[in-house]
Each structure stands twice: as structure tokens, then as C-alpha cells.
């Protein structure tokens, strides 16, 4: 029943492998594994919409883009499999994790029904009125395309500017 801990161990292990592998190709493959694991985490946390996006984006598109990049550039070669440990960087990240862990006691328990997110008026309003007001049964779509439609327009414009920016500015000779 309890899949959480092995799943999180798998995800963290894949992330660690990504961090320590010296070969960039190996790191990219470990990152694709990590993305797939995290997509399963989303499904376990009852977020199928996010899981679907992550599986398509993280394990699919992002991996292809990374692979394309190293195909176009270089892969550092060498006999070492594992990257040499960088002590200052390790200090910074351990410090960050330590500081964040001190806030752990203040966070609500995972899955408890009386957290601020679940009892907030926003959540209950969306769940109660999504079908009667917006006529869709998937509350995520209702929030995405109707209640927070302006936000979504902003996101779409961000994606648009990334595409046009890279095509027009960076890839001047793309279609020459």
C-alpha cells in the first residue's frame, strides 16, 4: 500500500545520479528517469493532469532538447565516471537544506484535510461551482480556462515570446 517512500527514494536516487555523473549524456538519461519517476509521484498525489504534462514534457520533449544540444556541441570526455566533489557547493546546498528543514515543523502534515490550502475559500468554491458555472467536470480545466483565464493568457504569451524570441533573435540563420 505504502508506495510513497520507495518512490521518493527512487526519485531522489535518480536526482543524485544526475548530479554526480560526469558524462553529460549519462546525466541526461538519469534526468529522464528522474522525470518519469516524478510523473508517477504526481499520479500518486492525485494530480493526473500534472502527471500527463510531466510525462510528455519532462521525459519526452526536454530529454530530446537536451540530447539535441549535446549532439550539436561537445561531451566532456575523461575516465572518471563520478564527478569530483565540490566542497564549497556542497556546503551551500547543505546549508540551504538545513535552513529549509528548520521550517518543517511549521508545515502541515501531508494529506491532512484541515490545511490552509484545502480549507481555503478558493478551493471549496472552485470544487463546488465548477460544474454549475463553467459546465466542465474537470475542475483543473475550469480553473485554467475560466476562473484564472487571464493568468493562462499570460502563460501562453510567455511561451509565445520564448518561441518567437529564440526563432527570431537567436536563430537568425535558421531558415536562411
Amino acid at each position: 500500500m505504502n508506495v510513497e517512500l520507495p518512490l521518493l527514494a527512487f526519485v531522489l536516487g535518480a536526482a543524485l545520479a544526475t548530479a554526480v555523473l560526469r558524462d553529460v549524456l549519462g546525466a541526461i538519461i538519469a534526468f529522464a528517469t528522474y522525470s518519469l519517476g516524478i510523473a508517477v509521484v504526481w499520479v500518486v498525489l492525485q494530480a493526473p493532469d500534472v502527471g500527463l504534462t510531466e510525462a510528455a514534457v519532462g521525459a519526452g520533449v526536454t530529454t530530446v532538447l537536451f540530447l539535441l544540444t549535446i549532439a550539436k556541441t561537445v561531451r566532456p570526455s575523461g575516465e572518471r565516471v563520478i564527478e569530483r566533489l565540490d566542497w564549497p557547493a556542497l556546503g551551500v546546498s547543505v546549508l540551504l537544506v538545513g535552513v529549509l528543514l528548520t521550517t518543517l515543523g511549521a508545515l502541515p502534515e501531508i494529506g491532512s484535510p484541515d490545511t490552509a490550502v484545502l480549507t481555503s475559500e478558493v478551493t471549496t468554491y472552485y470544487l463546488e461551482n465548477a460544474y454549475s458555472e463553467v459546465e466542465v467536470k474537470n475542475a483543473v480545466t475550469a480553473v485554467l480556462a475560466a476562473y484564472r483565464g487571464f493568468d493562462t493568457l499570460g502563460e501562453a504569451v510567455v511561451v509565445y515570446s520564448a518561441g518567437v524570441g529564440l526563432l527570431v533573435v537567436l536563430g537568425k540563420e535558421v531558415f536562411a
Binding site: 510513497e4 521518493l8 526519485v11 531522489l12 536526482a15 544526475t18 548530479a19 553529460v24 546525466a27 541526461i28 534526468f31 516524478i38 509521484v41 504526481w42 498525489l45 492525485q46 494530480a47 500534472v50 514534457v57 519532462g58 520533449v61 532538447l65 537536451f66 550539436k72 556541441t73 566532456p76 564527478e83 565540490d86 564549497p88 557547493a89 551551500v92 546546498s93 540551504l96 537544506v97 528543514l101 518543517l104 501531508i110 494529506g111 491532512s112 490550502v117 484545502l118 481555503s120 478551493t123 472552485y126 470544487l127 465548477a130 467536470k137 474537470n138 475542475a139 483543473v140 480553473v143 485554467l144 484564472r148 502563460e155 510567455v158 511561451v159 520564448a162 524570441g165 529564440l166 537567436l170
Partner: protein
Amino acid sequence: MMDLLVSRDYYVATFLLLGIGTYVMIASRNLVKKVIGMNIFQTGIFLFFIAAAYVEGGNPPVLTMDAPHVSPLPHVLILTAIVVGVALTAVALGMVVRIYAEYGTLDEETLQEVRGSE
């Protein structure tokens, strides 16, 4: 103590992912690996949001399913953030490819030397 860690396991995982992401971004000298580190950091934050939306025994926020539902709002925020994240990654990688075309290296320190000697 152990109880605290187990009952908030996703938050602990979030913090560790943020730590790993920071480490990769700082320690790695290869620009492509820095972008990977940024992606790991990003998913750590996504995990925080989705874990906050979760309710024990809840169903996905699809109204054909029985209550209780998990909160839909963090899902929407993260859904759009993932797609914006891939656009961000792609722009970063496009720049990495151009840097390589210009300087012939992706190593941070070599790049600084090349730029310093110009």
C-alpha cells in the same frame, strides 16, 4: 523526530531536491549540466505545491469522482509552470548552442579565460 520526517516526507524530498539542484548549478562546470540542475530545482518546487494540494484518500479534482477532491488550484499553477519551464529550458539550451558556436567550449572556467583574453 522520525514521525515528523515520515508524516512530511514529500516536503523533505522537496528540500533535498532543492539542495541537489543548487549543488548541480554551482558545482558543475558544464553549462548543459547547469541547465539540468535548474530543472531539478524547479521540480522540487513543483513537488512542494502538489504535496500541499494533496488530501489523504482524496480523488483527482474531476467532479465525476466522489469527494473529497484534492485542491485544483496548485495543479493549475504547476501545469502552466511546467510548460513555461520547458520554454525556459529550450531558450537556455539555444543560448548554450550559440555560446558553443561562438567560443567552442561549454566549460565555465575555459569560457571565462577565453572571454578575459579578448
